[in-house]
C-alpha cells in the first residue's frame, strides 16, 4: 500500500472513530445522566449513559489509531494498527450488543435501541473491514521485512 493510500485509509479510520464517539452524543443522543425523559421524578444514571461513555472511549482509541497511521505509514504500523482496529471493531460491536455492560433501555422503541446501537454496529463492521484491509494488504511486505 502506497503512502497516499495509507493516509487515505488513516483519514477514513479517524472519521469512523469520530463517528463512534459522537453518535451517542449528537446524532442519536442517548439518555444523559439524570435525564430519563419519562417519570421525571425518578432520575437514576442509566446503563445507556455508560454505554455512551464506553463508545466515546472506544471512538477515541480508533481516532488515535487513524492519527498514528497518518503520521507513521510504515509496514509495521499498518500491521499492528490493522490488528488493533479489528479488536476495537469487535469490542464496539460487543458493547452495542449488550455483551459488555448488560442490557440497556428496556423499551425497545427508545432511540438508544433503534438508532444508536445499530449505527455503532455498522461502524464497528466497517472498522473491522478497514483493519482487515490494512493487515492483509501489508502482510507480504511485513513478512519480507
Amino acid at each position: 500500500m502506497t503512502n497516499i493510500a495509507s493516509r487515505v485509509v488513516a483519514v477514513i479510520v479517524a472519521v469512523l472513530g469520530l463517528s463512534v464517539a459522537l453518535i451517542p452524543k449528537y446524532i442519536f443522543p442517548i439518555c444523559e445522566s439524570g435525564n430519563l425523559g419519562f417519570f421525571s421524578s425518578y432520575s437514576p444514571i442509566m446503563r445507556c449513559f455508560w454505554f455512551g461513555r464506553i463508545e466515546l472511549f472506544m471512538g477515541g482509541l480508533v481516532v488515535l489509531c487513524g492519527l498514528t497511521l497518518f503520521f507513521r505509514p510504515t509496514p509495521d504500523s499498518h500491521f499492528a494498527i490493522g490488528a488493533l482496529l479489528i479488536g476495537l471493531g469487535v469490542v464496539i460491536i460487543l458493547v452495542s450488543m449488550n455483551v459488555v455492560i448488560g442490557s440497556t433501555c428496556g423499551h425497545k422503541g427508545s432511540l438508544c435501541q433503534i438508532g444508536t446501537k445499530p449505527a455503532e454496529r455498522i461502524i464497528g463492521i466497517i472498522i473491522i473491514i478497514s483493519g482487515l484491509t490494512l493487515t492483509i494488504s501489508n502482510i507480504k511486505r511485513y513478512k519480507a521485512k
Binding site: 500500500m1 493510500a5 422503541g109 433503534i114 445499530p118 455498522i122 494488504s137
Partner: protein, 403 residues
C-alpha cells in the same frame, strides 16, 4: 496468463484508483437499494395494516382534512380529534347490511401530562360492542376490566406495562392489558372505556390544567362490520345517504390514501437516486478512461507483441467487471444492512408500520440491482476506452510515453 489474472493485477497495482472508482458506485448502489427496499417495504406494510383493521367500513365526519387525520391516526397513532353529530350512530346502525357497529371517541393528551413526555392518542370505546381492540390483547384482560374502575389497554410501543398507572386530565388509569404488536397506529394508542372517558371529562374541569370538552353523545368514528357477502361499496353509499353529514372510509381507501402520500415521497427519492447513480457512473467512467489512457504504451506493447484487440478489450472489460460487480454487490448489501439495522427508526420517521419487505423480495432486489448496476457500470466504463483501442500500436506507445 489469462485476462482475469491480468485484470486483478491491474486493480492491485493501483488500489487508490480502483477504490476511487468503486466508492461512488458503492454509495449510489447502497442508496438505490435502501430507497427501493423502503418503498416496497412501506407498501407491503400498508397492505398488511389494511388486512388487520378488523372493520370493513369506518364512518367519520365529512371533510378531506378529517379523512387524512383519521388515516394518519390508523397508520401511525398520531392523535386526531373530531366528533360526529349525536344522532349519527343511530342512523348508521339502522342501515340494512350492517351486522355490527362499535363507536370510538378520540382524545389527545396534554403535552405535559404527568405520566409521559409528548402527546398521546387516547381512544375511548365500548368493551361490550368492540370487535377491533380486544382481539389484539396479549392475555385475557376481561376479568381485570370488570374488576377495575378506570382501566386502560395500551399499545405495544407505549412505555407502560400491566399494573402501571398513569394520569390523564386528572384521572388515574391502571393498565389492564397490553396489545400484541400490530404494526399499525394501535401500537401507539391508549384505549380506555367510554364510561371512564365521561368520568374524565367531568373531572377535568377541576383536576386538569385544561378542561376536556366532549359532549355527552359525541363520537369520533363508527366502525362497521358488514354482513357476510354484502357489497361494501353499495353499503357505503347507503350509509352516506342515511347520514349526509358523514363520510365513509373503506379499508381499501385507507390503503389508497396512504399510498398516495408514499408515492409523492417515492417520486422525489427516485429522482435523487437516479441523479446519484448517473453521477457515480460518470465518475467511474472518467476515472477508468483516465487510467486506461495512462496505460496506452502498455496496450500498444501488448498489441505489438501479438495480443489481438479482442484480448485487450476483454482484459479491460474484465477489470471493469471486477470493480463494478464487487462494488455493486457490496453497495446493495450495505443498503440492505442499513434498512435492516434502522428498521424501527425508519418506520417511526416515515410513519409506516414496517419498512422492510419480505426476505424473498429483499433478496430479489439485491440480486437485480447488483446485476443491473454492474452491467450499466461496465458499459459506462468501457465506452470511452474503445477509441483508445483503435489507435495503432506505435502511436499508442508514443502517446503513452509522452503522458
Amino acid at each position: 496468463m489469462n485476462g482475469w489474472y491480468l485484470a486483478l493485477s491491474q486493480i492491485k497495482r493501483n488500489p487508490l484508483r480502483s477504490a476511487l472508482m468503486a466508492i461512488g458506485i458503492v454509495i449510489a448502489a447502497a442508496f438505490m437499494t435502501a430507497v427501493a427496499l423502503l418503498i416496497v417495504g412501506v407498501n407491503e406494510g400498508i397492505t398488511n395494516t389494511v388486512k388487520r383493521l378488523g372493520a370493513d367500513i369506518m364512518v367519520v365526519p365529512r371533510g378531506e382534512k378529517i379523512a387524512r387525520q383519521f388515516n394518519e391516526a390508523l397508520l401511525t397513532g398520531k392523535p386526531a380529534t373530531f366528533y360526529l353529530a349525536t344522532a349519527t350512530i343511530e342512523k348508521v346502525s339502522r342501515v340494512p347490511g350492517v351486522e355490527n357497529i362499535s363507536s370510538q371517541i378520540f382524545v389527545e393528551t396534554l403535552t405535559n401530562a404527568r405520566c409521559c413526555a409528548g402527546k398521546f392518542f387516547i381512544v375511548a370505546f365500548d368493551p361490550d360492542t368492540d370487535f377491533t381492540v380486544k382481539p389484539w390483547l396479549k392475555d385475557e384482560a376481561g376479568l381485570s376490566i370488570s374488576q377495575m374502575e378506570d382501566w386502560m389497554i395500551v399499545g405495544d410501543r407505549i412505555l407502560l406495562r400491566k399494573g402501571s398507572e398513569a394520569q390523564f386530565y386528572g384521572t388515574t388509569f391502571t393498565v389492564a392489558g397490553v396489545l400484541e404488536p400490530t404494526g399499525t397506529g394501535m401500537d401507539w394508542t391508549i384505549y380506555i372505556s367510554e364510561k371512564s372517558l365521561r368520568k374524565m371529562v367531568t373531572g377535568s374541569g377541576t383536576k386538569a390544567e385544561m378542561p376536556l370538552r366532549i359532549r355527552q353523545g359525541d363520537y369520533s368514528s363508527i366502525l362497521v362490520k358488514a354482513q357476510a357477502g354484502a357489497d361494501l361499496i353499495d353499503l357505503a353509499e347507503k350509509i352516506e345517504q342515511a347520514a349526509p353529514e358523514i363520510q365513509v372510509i373503506l379499508s381499501s381507501t385507507v390503503a389508497k390514501l396512504a399510498r398516495g402520500q408514499l408515492f409523492a415521497t417515492a417520486y422525489v427519492l427516485g429522482c435523487i437516486v437516479a441523479g446519484l447513480w448517473i453521477m457515480a457512473l460518470v465518475m467511474s467512467g472518467v476515472i477508468f478512461s483516465m487510467a486506461v489512457r495512462e496505460r496506452r504504451s502498455q496496450i500498444g506493447l501488448l498489441i505489438a507483441k501479438g495480443a489481438n484487440k479482442n484480448f485487450i478489450f476483454g482484459m479491460l472489460t474484465k477489470e471493469s467487471i471486477l470493480i463494478a460487480a464487487t462494488s455493486c454487490l457490496s453497495g446493495c448489501l450495505m443498503g440492505l444492512l442499513i434498512v435492516f439495522s434502522f428498521r424501527e427508526l425508519l418506520s417511526n420517521a416515515l410513519g409506516a408500520s414496517d419498512v422492510l419487505p419480505t426476505a424473498a423480495t429483499a433478496g430479489l432486489f439485491v440480486a437485480a440491482f447488483s446485476v443491473l448496476g454492474t452491467a450499466t457500470a461496465v458499459i459506462t466504463a468501457i465506452m470511452p476506452v474503445i477509441p483508445i483501442l483503435r489507435t495503432e500500436p506505435y502511436e499508442a506507445i508514443k502517446q503513452g510515453a509522452a503522458t
